[in-house]
Amino acid sequence: MKISIGCDHIVTDIKNHIVKYLEDKGHEVIDNGTYDNVRTHYPIYGKKTAKKVVNKEADLGIVICGTGVGITTSANKIKGIRAALVRDVSTAKYAKEELNANVIGIGGRITGIGLMEEIIDTFISTKYKETEENKELIKSIDDMIEDGSYVNDEHLFDDLLEKWDKGYYHD
């Protein structure tokens, strides 16, 4: 399968481990970064990873940050993405089987590597079981965002990053 993956700078090592884990299993992985531990911003990588999925360049997406919340939220805010943020295998299975989830999010500082691997394996291998009821729920979710064209805007965050560079955001 073709998997799009992304992370923030807190969990790059864990992302790298998962990339290798998936490649060893024969999957093709698109690594959207980040690629090092230099401070950056999770919505950039959530959006990049999601874009490959909605544009059909990848079958599924995996996103990882510290808790998973920030990057999975950013991915889910892309039209066509149904992302599940999980800490257990059961929810991963349900999200794929019933909601045809196309992105799975995990907290790299919350969930250990062994559990993470089983969550991802289950997410990839579980098949969506279409019913009239869940088709309608999925349509309702997908219809919530009307104009999703911002997914293709490469400059969506430019002004914010400029403010960052100027020191506007400081602790």
Binding site: I44, T67, G68, A84, V86, D88
Partner: protein, 142 residues
């Protein structure tokens, strides 16, 4: 600050438990789903729309796994919804993501853990600072 809460059918019992617990702790709680027959699209929308009315509102959305409610709430601009089942995520997402809603799976977390996850969220504060650029980015989406 108000706690806005709602659930679908399967989350109804956990919702009732949390409404009762939070009220007894002195929180102002608004139950958006007295009707036990809603699906998670309906319940999560009702909660999200109410949460967005005031800046310091905090929402709780519940269904069996928490996954459906998370998808729905996070499609709405201005919502940062955290699907959580541990106390550390609850604290960190309040501090770093300024999450305004948490999603719980009634089939996944027990009542004691659910209660403590909610309290871990309520007892912590957003840190702002460098984290604000990421929240600003999230608000560009959806």
């Amino acid at each position: 600050m108000k706690v806005i809460i709602g659930s679908d059918t399967k989350g109804f019992e956990l919702k009732a438990y949390l409404v009762n617990f939070l009220s007894s702790e002195g929180y102002k709680v608004m139950d958006m789903t007295p009707d036990p027959n809603l699906n998670f699209v309906e319940s999560a929308r009702l909660v999200s729309e109410e949460v967005l009315k005031e800046e310091d509102n905090f929402g709780i959305v519940i269904d069996e796994y928490g996954a459906g409610s998370f998808m729905v709430a996070n499609k709405i601009k201005g919502v940062v919804c955290a699907e959580v089942s541990d106390e550390h995520s609850a604290r960190m997402t309040k501090e770093h993501n300024n999450a305004n809603i948490i999603s719980l799976g009634s089939g996944i977390v027990g009542k004691t853990l659910a209660k403590n996850v909610v309290m871990s969220f309520l007892n912590n504060n957003y840190s702002g600072g460098r984290h604000q650029i990421r929240v600003d980015m999230l608000n560009r989406l959806a």
